[in-house]
């Protein structure tokens, strides 16, 4: 049995705005074991990024607020940490890669400076030593040392994302959170970056949470998958369990929405309707208004998590053993 690295229990995060309260994350439970890669999948507004920001405690407050829940990382509750203690964790033990490499680098510092900065922040070594380490990191992500003194605008999108990866991994973090790391990149460049991430996480023994909306990317990189909808995990399990024995109607809808290059189909079968209004989530199951298999009970009662097999769990009355059947 592998050791648990991160466990999130009953996490709820809200944003309080003039128009009302946005329930971004609602009672989310998640566990990540050492060395594993978890794919957190969902559409815009599902609460994926809010969850990630919650883990590193970077939810802007206000308007955001953590209503309840606990996040344990390496056995310690992150919500009990002081601001200073959190700063020592961010970038050091937990790193994050953001979606857009164009905006996550500082345009007025050389990339060398930006990699060195994070190393110097977290370890007491000389500037020269840090620069040497930074150059090693650069080589590791496939950029030659002679570009150390160049500025972000001199790099292409794929190269910038490599620099961001170098910064994120410079301190050998235990956990890497990658938020849509390849969404802004072209397919052939995406393939390069995914290969690099796969290689590095094995070499450096980093656990990873990969946030994405792309089920194809998940299949290439992840060991486990959690499908998120309206602030909750509606289905989770190993990659095989989710892809070969899909249960939740939302997950089925997601698979039906992507055209498959190997199969001929006349029409796609998309999910009808739209994401629910986060100001006003449905009383029962949040997928109820769009669900093709909805039942009476779904309108009023929130489904509990049900085990399917192994680690496969799903929140849907179609599979619960008790009432509703």
């Amino acid at each position: 049995m592998k050791e648990t690295l991160l466990s999130i229990k009953d996490l709820s995060i809200q944003y309080v705005t003039d128009d009302g309260v946005v329930e971004a994350v609602n009672g989310l439970n998640l566990e990540l074991k050492k060395g594993e890669t978890l794919g957190l999948v969902g559409e815009t507004g599902a609460g994926k990024t809010t969850t990630a920001l919650g883990i590193i405690r970077l939810i802007p407050q206000p308007p955001g607020r953590v209503v309840k829940g606990e996040i344990h990382f390496q056995g310690e509750n992150l919500f009990e940490k002081s601001k200073i203690a959190m700063r020592a964790i961010r970038g050091n033990k937990i790193s994050m890669i953001f979606q857009d490499p164009m905006t996550s680098l500082n345009p007025i510092f050389t990339i060398g400076d930006q990699i060195t900065e994070v190393i110097r922040l977290h370890s007491k070594i000389s500037r020269a030593e840090a620069a040497k380490k930074a150059k090693e990191m650069l080589e590791l992500v496939g950029i030659t040392e002679d570009r150390f003194d160049e500025y972000p605008h001199q790099f292409s999108g794929g190269m910038k994302q490599r620099v961001v990866i170098a910064i994120a991994l410079a301190c050998r973090p235990a956990l890497l959170i990658a938020d849509e790391p390849t969404t802004a990149l072209d397919v052939t460049i995406q393939a390069q970056v995914l290969e690099l991430m796969n290689k590095l996480k094995d070499e450096l023994h980093t656990s990873m949470i990969l946030i994405t909306h792309d089920l194809g990317v998940v299949a290439e990189v992840c060991d486990r998958v959690a499908i998120m909808y309206a602030g909750q995990i509606v289905e989770s399990g190993t990659l095989h369990e989710i892809y070969e024995n899909t249960k939740h109607p939302y997950t089925l809808g997601l698979f039906g929405s992507i055209p498959d290059v190997d199969v001929e189909i006349e029409r796609l079968s998309p999910i009808e309707g739209l994401m629910p209004d986060p100001f006003n989530l449905p009383k029962g199951c949040s997928f109820y208004p769009r669900c093709p298999k909805r039942m009476e009970i779904c309108a009023d009662v929130k489904p509990e998590e049900t085990g399917i097999s192994g680690e496969h769990r799903v929140k849907c009355f179609l599979y619960s053993k008790g009432e509703g059947r």
Partner: protein, 319 residues
């Protein structure tokens, strides 16, 4: 089946301070009535410029565009206005392509007003509402403004606006890239249904290979302003002859487990389109590149019926 659009040696160079940028370089293609031509390629390959050239949204450097039997390469402004009735465009970003100060019905009515199609307001409103219904926008949204709507609905406005003049030909420039997968599928279905109903002809520009396969009859693969491979959608996904197409298709992440795959990971990145050398544009990244590749650009030749490839070593590579 008659040809609606023909493009001959279409070329667009942009002059930049660093030299001439070869955006589109000698593209030839033809498109039949009621068909969809998919144009795929990565950022900077010239696919959007190609679409804009055909619609005269940007000036042509060289070449010919023949639409509905007429050469429209150098048309007068007045004639161009007439032409635009039959050729329209759906833009990529439903957030920036709609005027935030106009309501949904105003946006859809604008083309009708410009062409003075309806003399009476009643008739105008009727057409607008009918078009809204066609694209699946509820009547109650007619006085809403774009910012009140989500991406999927906004893109429906974009589709409605392009349809309202009853065009023959629509250039769809990445119409679903900014949308979530479940919404993307809804819009793709809409675009396909409209084609069947109205016998529309599409040029569908995208970087998404699974989408292009799903929606196209013919596909051309572009790289740095040139067509690398061109054939019908089914054949392209069955046999690829060009090394770039092979790499591109192998790079699509598949939402499946337990599939054996030989992924070809390309080295390096797309080279600069400014003053490219005389040879094949793909040569700097090609694993099969030989000396000849950097000397002369390969022509697009037919290797099988209706399957065109621009590579010097098609037979050597594919046996």
């Amino acid at each position: 089946m008659s040809t609606l659009l023909e493009v001959k040696d279409l070329t667009k160079y942009f002059e930049t301070p660093r030299g001439t940028l070869y955006a589109v370089d000698g593209v030839n293609l033809a498109l039949d009535h009621g068909k969809t031509l998919g144009v795929v390629g990565e950022s900077g390959c010239g696919k959007s410029t190609l679409g804009r050239l055909i619609l005269h949204l940007t000036g042509i450097t060289k070449g010919q565009v023949i639409f509905d039997g007429k050469d429209i390469t150098s048309v007068s402004k007045a004639h161009l206005k007439e032409l635009r009735k039959s050729m329209q465009m759906i833009f990529q970003d439903p957030f920036s392509s709609l005027n935030p100060r106009m309501s949904v019905s105003e946006i859809i009515a604008e083309p009708l007003k410009i062409y003075g199609i309806h003399k009476e307001k009643k008739a105008l409103d009727k057409s607008v509402l009918a078009t809204m219904e066609t694209v699946g926008l509820a009547k109650r949204l007619q006085y809403s403004y774009p910012h009140e709507l989500d991406g999927g609905r906004r893109q429906r406005i974009g589709v409605a606006r392009s349809l309202v003049l009853n065009p023959k030909f629509i250039v769809c420039d990445e119409p679903v890239s900014a949308l979530d997968v479940s919404i993307q599928a809804q819009i793709l279905n809409l675009i396909q249904d409209l084609q069947k109903e109205r016998n529309l002809t599409y040029m569908f520009i995208t970087h998404n290979l699974s989408v292009v396969k799903h929606i196209s009859d013919d596909i051309c693969v572009m790289y740095l302003g040139k067509i690398m491979e061109k054939t019908d959608a089914k054949s392209l996904f069955r046999y690829q002859y060009h090394p770039y197409t092979k790499a591109l298709l192998s790079a699509i992440p598949k939402a499946k487990v337990n599939v054996k795959r030989n992924k070809i990971i390309l080295k390096g990145e797309i080279t600069s389109p400014i003053n490219p050398g005389p040879g094949c544009r793909f040569a700097p990244r090609c694993i099969y590149a030989k000396e000849a590749c950097s000397v002369q650009a390969p022509p697009l030749v037919e290797v099988r019926p209706n399957h065109f490839v621009a590579c010097h070593f098609t037979t050597e590579i594919n046996g």
